[in-house]
Structures are given as C-alpha cells and as structure tokens.
C-alpha cells in the first residue's frame, strides 16, 4: 500500500502527465466527465457518477478506422493507426471498472478488435472506492464491491489521504515512487462503504430467471409492452451506459478523402436494424425489449452468466421518462 496526501494530488498528476496522457473526472461547463487532465482543469474525485461512463477511454464515442482516397475508378486505402501511446485513467469506480471486463468479452473475443485491444494494452486503470454510494447505485447485485474496486491500481480516500494499492505490474510502475503505508490503512473505510451499500434501496434485486434457460419465456412476457410504453427512443440510456457497446460505421467525405469511422449507436433507435426491405424491430416495444434482453439474458447466455449491467445507476437518473433496468428486473425477475 502507498499513500499520498490529497494536497499533493495535483503534483502527482503533473508527474504522470509529463510522461503520458492522464484522463480523470473533470468538471467542465457544470458537468463532470472523464477528460484529459491538465493543470488548469478541476478534478472532481468527490463526484460519484460522471455523466458518461469511463468506457470511452477504451471504446471512444467516435473512432477513425480507415481513410480512403478516390481517383477515377481507383481507391486508395489507408487504415488508421491503433493507439500507440501509454495513458492513465484515474478515478474509475468499481462499476465502470467491471464494465471493462464486459467490454473485453466482446472486443477481445475472437476475432480481436485491434483498436480496442491497443487501447487496453496501453491504458493503466486507477480505480477509486465509493465513499458515498448513492440511492441509484445497485452494483452489489452483480457481485461488485464498491469498497474494493478492481483495476491496475485501487485507491481509497481516507480523511485527507489517498491510499493506493497496485494490483498489476503496470500499477506498480505507476505508484512505485509514492510513500509506503500500512496494508490495512483503508479497512475502516471499506467497512463503512459496505455498511452503506447493504442498505441501498436496490441492494437486493431478484435476478432469478434471467438466464439462457428462460430466454423465450422472458422474450414472450407480456410485460414488455407496458414497460416500454413511455420510451421515446432517445438513446440516452445507451450513451451513458458503461456496458452498451453497439456501434455504427459511417463515412464522412472531408473533401480531402473519405474518413470511415465507427461511433456509438443504440438499439433503441428506429433505424438500427433498418434494411432496404424494412426492419425486424418495427416498434419501440421490440427495440426496448432487445436492449434489456441483451443485457439480462443474451449476454449472460454467451458469457458464463455475467450480466451486461454493472449497476452504476446512470440510466436511473438520466432517462427523461424514468425508465430503467431496475424496473425491468422488478417486473420480469424473480419477484414478479
């Protein structure tokens, strides 16, 4: 275990930023989101939930894939370079840290996605325990401990000190020059966090029946029509979600070549599956059902029972219609 006075945090950030890009929760225009750190930025480690999740560090909202130049009937293809510089993402919460494992299941499974793999290889993740879990938090349902976040380095704020523990070689390299501290320095803080998470309103959701065995039963449940009635199809849930990984591929003619890029997309959008002859999900009922069936049934069925939800609760606070995965679990899970 290492320690660092919170007063010295900016100096530590400065030292990291001399060698590599540092991404941290930064306040800009009244919102806190992960962004590139510089001395003039305000880091907000006290804010539990960034507006968007940390997934953008490895799966950016927009990412160049290949550039084309057209000349008559000929085409020149220039693939974009994958990430080739190290970076650190600091202040990732336990839920978002788990989302990286889930994204790994998608992008690092055969065939490996080269862009994502390069970012994962070059990134060092520093997580931060959640001293003040919020009412919308429900990570414990998915076996996530907000007091013991994963990552290359785990960190705890105790009073005016930040305690850091390296979990990997990458993590050790990052914090090796910091002052040593007692291994149990964060134990009281952990206990306090767990005492809170146990009491949260959604701490024990009944996920019974969300598995590959009950796929058709869940799919055919009449509750979907009522659950989805208010859905506007705005896609906000998808964009703030740490585990949503669907993407679109689009071309932009810059006037100097055509840039093909991928960008976040949402199965909540009406054109997501639209083909020349129509769509296989014609109404919002089917689109809404797809999003939650994927998270709670299809994904676990393909990934050793792991749910594609980490209980971060962003969708609970951001949906303009008050729809969310907790309502779905309550309506269709073991407590229905």
């Amino acid at each position: 275990m290492k320690k660092l006075s919170l007063n010295a945090l900016n100096r530590f950030f400065g030292e990291i930023a001399e060698k590599q890009t540092l991404i941290a929760p930064i306040e800009r225009a009244g919102q806190v989101d992960f962004g590139v750190w510089s001395e003039s930025e305000t880091v907000r480690l006290d804010v539990l939930k960034t507006v968007k999740s940390a997934k953008g560090a490895f799966f950016p909202q927009v990412e160049d894939m290949v550039r084309f130049h057209m000349q008559g009937k000929n085409i020149e293809i220039n693939p974009s370079e994958v990430m080739n510089e190290d970076f650190v993402i600091f202040g990732v919460r336990a839920c978002d840290a788990r989302s990286f494992d889930l994204l790994d299941r998608v992008f690092l499974s055969d065939p490996v996605d080269p862009f994502y793999a390069a970012r994962r290889a070059h990134g060092t993740v520093v997580t931060l325990a959640c001293n003040e879990p919020e009412e919308t938090c429900f990570c414990s349902n998915f076996g996530i401990d907000a007091a013991e976040p994963a990552g290359d380095v785990s960190a705890w704020i105790v009073g005016e000190e930040l305690y850091l523990r390296a979990n990997t070689e990458k993590g050790e390299t990052l914090i090796k020059d910091l002052e040593d501290a007692a291994e149990d320095a964060a134990e009281e803080t952990k206990k306090a966090i767990r005492a809170v998470t146990e009491q949260l309103p959604f701490a024990s959701l009944n996920l019974e029946g969300f598995d590959g065995e009950h796929l058709m039963e869940k799919f055919n449940d009449p509750a979907w029509a009522e659950l989805s009635r208010a859905c506007l199809g705005c896609g906000t849930c998808t964009f703030v979600c740490p585990t949503c990984q669907c993407y679109d591929v689009r071309d932009f003619d810059s006037g100097n070549g055509i840039q093909r890029y991928r960008c976040w997309d949402s199965c909540m959008f009406s054109d997501f599956t639209l083909m020349a002859h129509g769509t296989n999900r014609p109404t919002q009922v089917e689109r809404f059902r797809q999003r939650f069936m994927h998270k709670l049934v299809y994904f676990p069925s393909n990934n050793d029972g792991l749910y594609s939800c980490v209980g971060c609760g962003r969708c609970l606070s951001k949906c303009p219609q008050g729809l969310n995965i907790v309502k779905v679990i309550k309506a269709l899970g073991g407590d229905k």
Partner: protein, 275 residues
C-alpha cells in the same frame, strides 16, 4: 491484425445483367486472383467509400479459382451505386464472414433438395455449383426455383446449359408466379410447387427466398413429413462489423454474421422470431 474489420481492394472485372433488377458482379484482387478463399454460404462486406458498406452472400462456388461473384438486387443506397458502376471500378471488400453450409460434413452423401425464390437463389448458387463440381460426393439433387416472371429468373442461361444438362444428374424444376406468353413451363408459387412435386422426406433441404416464401415452404415440407433438423436456410439482417461486435444482427443469443447466416431450422426455433 486489422484484417477482420479493415477492407482490402477489389476490382470489378465483369458485370452481367441477369434480370431487370439483378446484376452479377465479378470481383478479383488487384493484379488478379481471388481476394480470399471462402466456403459456400459465406458472405463478404462490399463497399464503395462515401456511399456505404453492406453484406452480400458470395454467389460463386469456391471451386471457381480466379474470382468471386456476387448477384445483387438493386434495392437500397449501396446496391443502387453498385448497379450503376462500370467494369474496372475498384471497390472495397472484406471477408469471408459467417458459417457456411455444411457441404463437407452433414451434407456429404445426402440426397439434396434446393428450394429458392427470386434473388434467394444467390446464396444457394454457390452450394449448387460446389455440389456439381464434387458430384460424386452427394446423392440425388433436385432444385426447385421460382420467380415472379421468366425475366426475373436469375442465372437462367447457366441453369439451362449446366444444371439441366443430363450429365449434371440434377433435376431442375422451374416455376413462375403467373402465366406469360413466352413460358411453357410450370406456373405456381414455390411452396405449392414443392407440395405438387411430392418429395419424400429423406432429403436434406436448403432453402432461401423471401421470408413469406420460406414460411410457406416450411409448412409444405412439414406436410410432406420433413423434420426441422433436415432443413437449412440462410438469413439476412443489417450488419456493420461482420464479426459479432457491433450488435446489429443480434437475435437472441446469436449473431447472424458470425453464428449464421446459415442456420438449421431447429436452431432457429430456439430463437425469438425477430427476423
């Protein structure tokens, strides 16, 4: 390393007009030869930068050594563009994607029945020619193919000269939806014709066509005593990545691009009918 999602160059070396809305494009690598090897039923992403990219089944058999062909119906942005291009146009291509028809295992030695409607012949064309080039490895072969009119029958010259050649030992049953002047062949919808032909349920069936045709063909085959485990089809959904990651072609716990596009009907029965 980026090969699975970054395309390579292809050149269109021949264009054949098959029907009023279907053309067949021959694609080779720059400098000649195939862009990559494939198996019957597999697909490739074709694209013209600035217009878009779309998934197409590879129509030619892997036994064709020098090129790949794609029979493509004009029905959207990308296909409109492909239809107006000229020979020597470069396009981008990546693949092959998906699971092929099991031509080298489950289908070996079987009596085969191919059923196709309209441009649905395109993916089966690859299998039929593969079977023809390895004729001794398969039993009886029947092909039922129907379209709206005689003009809409895809590959008619090849069907008449090659598949209907007695040396091919394949029975071809053509049909069109409505009678017309220059047609003295059969007139019926494909599912009706399949029933009339009274196939015995010892065949392995490969079917492709419009969803409504597939639905009624399945009904007809069931009436004739066929089981779902004997029937294969190939599916089409919107795709972007081709490798099971962009999420678009997800149905149940399957991705059509990587777990399909070839499915056996008993496998489909375990999935939500969202296709």
């Amino acid at each position: 390393m980026q090969d699975n999602i970054i395309p390579m160059l292809g050149v269109v070396t021949a264009i054949r007009t098959d029907t009023p809305d279907i053309k067949t494009f021959r694609v080779e690598a720059v400098g000649g030869g195939k862009c990559f090897e494939h198996m019957p039923g597999q697909c490739a992403m074709l694209s013209i930068p600035g217009v878009g990219e779309a998934m197409f089944s590879i129509t030619s058999s892997p036994t064709v050594k020098d090129y790949q062909e794609f029979s493509i119906k004009k029905c959207g942005c990308v296909t409109e563009w492909l239809h107006q291009m000229e020979v020597d146009q470069q396009i981008t291509i990546r693949g092959p994607y998906g699971k092929p028809f099991p031509v080298d295992d489950e289908l070996l030695g079987k009596d085969l029945l191919f059923i196709a409607g309209g441009v649905g012949l395109a993916p089966l064309h690859s299998v039929i020619n593969y079977v023809l080039d390895n004729r001794e490895k398969y039993g009886k072969v029947d092909i039922v193919y129907g379209s709206r009119s005689k003009e809409d029958l895809l590959d008619l010259p090849e069907i008449e000269s090659s598949w209907m050649d007695p040396k091919s030992e394949m029975n071809v049953h053509l049909t069109i939806d409505r009678p017309q002047d220059n047609w003295d062949g059969h007139v019926a919808f494909v599912p009706t014709y399949v029933k009339e032909l009274e196939f015995t349920p010892d065949r392995t069936v490969l079917v492709c066509g419009p969803p409504i045709m597939i639905k009624f063909v399945l009904q007809a085959l069931t009436e004739l005593g066929f089981e779902k485990t004997q029937i294969y089809t190939t599916m089409e959904l919107r795709m972007k990545c081709g490798v099971g990651k962009c999420g678009r072609c997800n149905i149940g716990d399957k991705y059509v691009c990587k777990d399909g596009p070839v499915f056996r009907f008993d496998e489909l029965g375990e999935l939500p009918a969202e296709y």
